[in-house]
């Protein structure tokens, strides 16, 4: 073994090892520090809201609920999912307000959220994280992130920098379009009479293998009432307090409506509504009959990942879906490792309404 050639071969070993390590570093995102990753996305929420230890990084303020879903079997035409067979399954849920501040003062204008977990037989589950907007203002995860960072309140005014927000809107005409379509739309007086939308398109697959693009929404069976002008001195938790009071009086019900898409309906763009004449079927009724504070609710340690789906429901090609799944998972991992702080709506708040 001559010395120079063995040095050369040793160098080859080194180069190969460095290349393998480099390949892994690339896969892990270490070589592309500017790329948007789940961790960076969550960093955006923490940049805007501070680190709210123990809380979801978005939809931080919330209240656990539970009840059941009764399927009428109509959905089985389009999806073989067990949840659409006639029958009843238990449901765990969480009402929330959008934004990363767990103690934000309730306001009628805040986007409302409802996360649901349907427990199906044999360990299957269906989770959906719905909001009160019929279409989503952002087409891509990058646009959402850009807006998130631009929305950081200026400490001197308490409001986002108008120039940064305008620059964002100028770059994203689809957001401008959604915001103008939503303007002037009547807002419901409470959680109980709010319509919640599934936000993204999905695909249903039935037992004969046919795949159908769908969207879904929950329409309240409690009568609609428009939110009035907010009284001057309001309970900071008035939306949640009135939800607790309502759910004590009577179980709250929503119909689960499936919108059946046609070939060509956009599935990869949550900013575009489907034509109003699309077939709608009522697949069943959701009943929520119990409110529970986050301290004790099992919903607190549930990640309402929209891609926890049973066989028979599949993701669409919407790029937001995988990103939501990834970012929710990162938020979940962070908050589960943090010391839990009491939520704005405490167990005592829930009890005093009993």
């Amino acid at each position: 073994m001559s010395n120079p050639s063995s040095t050369l071969r040793l160098a080859i070993v080194g180069v190969v090892l460095v290349m393998v390590a480099g390949g892994f570093a690339y896969l892990g995102g270490w070589l592309t520090p500017r790329a948007l990753t789940p961790a960076r996305f969550i960093g955006g929420f923490e940049y805007v809201n501070g680190v709210q230890a123990g809380f979801r990084r978005n939809h931080a303020k919330g209240l656990g609920v539970s009840g059941f879903f009764e399927s009428n079997g109509n959905g089985a035409r389009f999806s073989k999912a067990v949840v659409f067979q006639p029958g009843r399954v238990p449901v765990l849920g969480r009402f929330s307000l959008a934004g990363g501040m767990p103690r934000v003062v309730d306001s009628a204008d805040a986007v409302r959220g409802l996360g649901l977990h349907f427990s199906l037989p044999d360990g299957e589950a269906w989770r959906t994280a719905m909001i009160s907007l019929p279409v989503f203002p952002f087409r891509t995860p990058e646009a959402f992130y850009e807006q998130l960072v631009a929305s950081k309140p200026d400490p001197s005014t308490g409001k986002p920098d108008p120039a940064a927000m305008k620059a964002f809107i100028d770059r994203h005409p689809e957001t401008a379009q959604v915001l103008s379509a939503l303007k002037g739309r009547p807002v419901a007086s409470g959680f109980e009479n709010t319509t919640f939308y599934g936000l993204n398109a999905f695909r249903f697959g039935n037992s004969s293998g046919a795949s159908t693009p769908v969207r879904w929404l929950l329409t309240p069976m409690q009568p609609f009432e428009a939110a009035g002008a907010a009284p001057a001195a309001q309970d900071p938790n008035y939306l949640f307090e009135s939800l607790i009071a309502r759910i004590r009086r009577e179980p709250l019900r929503w119909q689960l409506v499936i919108v059946i898409g046609q070939p060509g309906d956009p599935t990869r763009d949550a900013t575009i509504a489907w034509p109003a004449d699309r077939e709608r079927i009522v697949a069943g009724t959701l009943t929520l009959d119990r409110a529970e504070a986050e301290e004790t609710s099992a919903a607190t340690d549930i990640n309402f990942d929209p891609l926890v789906l049973p066989a028979g429901i599949a993701p669409s090609d919407d790029p937001l879906l995988s990103a939501r799944s990834a970012v929710y998972a990162r938020s979940f991992t962070r908050r589960e490792g943090e010391r839990k702080q009491p939520s704005a709506i405490t167990a005592a708040d829930v009890r005093k309404r009993e």
Binding site: F24, A39, E124
Partner: protein, 186 residues
């Protein structure tokens, strides 16, 4: 110098290379998953069943190792090197079993359904618990980095023997059968 090595039995070699490909894929998918938005879901749906497959094959491999013991180490390996090799083999076998079990456990503690394929799910092996999830999730990452380090050491050692010492160590595990008992590099 003339070295004579016995090869590992054919089944052992098949298991080794199959698992090598699977484990490298798992490590790569795991690293990419954590950094990915758009591919997260697809990568996760590969990671779960593949991890369970590694767990099953690791058990098969341990049983096989009892039935088909490995050939002796080549004489070019020093006493110390043999001890290091034995310890690292044990550590890798351990990780092949412990990493998937921790993954399964952490998903159980988070109450994430553990989908293998379609509606085929694994049962939860731990109660719903934030603390258990947080600890296991962190452990999963640390052990995965550890496994990657073990892989690099193993790969580096084999490369060193094969390219620098040129003692034909790799032939013990070559996917093809090397004829005759005197297989080895002259």
């Amino acid at each position: 110098m003339l070295l004579r090595y016995a090869q590992f039995p054919a089944l052992s070699r098949l298991l080794h290379w199959t698992m090598a490909a699977m484990i490298l894929t798992m490590l790569g998918v795991g690293a990419a998953m954590v950094a990915s938005l758009g591919d997260y879901h697809v990568l996760l749906s590969i990671h779960k069943p593949l991890g369970i497959a590694v767990l099953i094959l690791a058990v098969v491999r341990l049983v096989n190792r009892r039935i088909n013991p490995p050939p002796p180490f080549p004489p070019t390996m020093s006493h110390l090197e043999r001890r290091v090799a034995i310890a690292s083999e044990r550590a890798m076998y351990g990780l092949m079993i412990v990493l998937p079990v921790i993954g399964w456990g952490m998903l159980s503690a988070a109450h994430y359904p553990i989908v293998l394929y379609g509606s085929v799910h694994l049962p939860f092996i731990l109660p719903h618990s934030a603390v258990l999830y947080a600890v296991l999730r962190k452990t999963h990452t640390i052990l995965a980095y550890g496994f990657f380090a073990m892989f690099m050491a193993h790969f580096g050692a084999v490369l060193f023997h094969t390219l620098v010492m040129r003692d034909g160590l790799l032939k013990r595990m070559a996917p093809w059968t090397i004829a005759g008992p005197s297989a080895g590099e002259p």
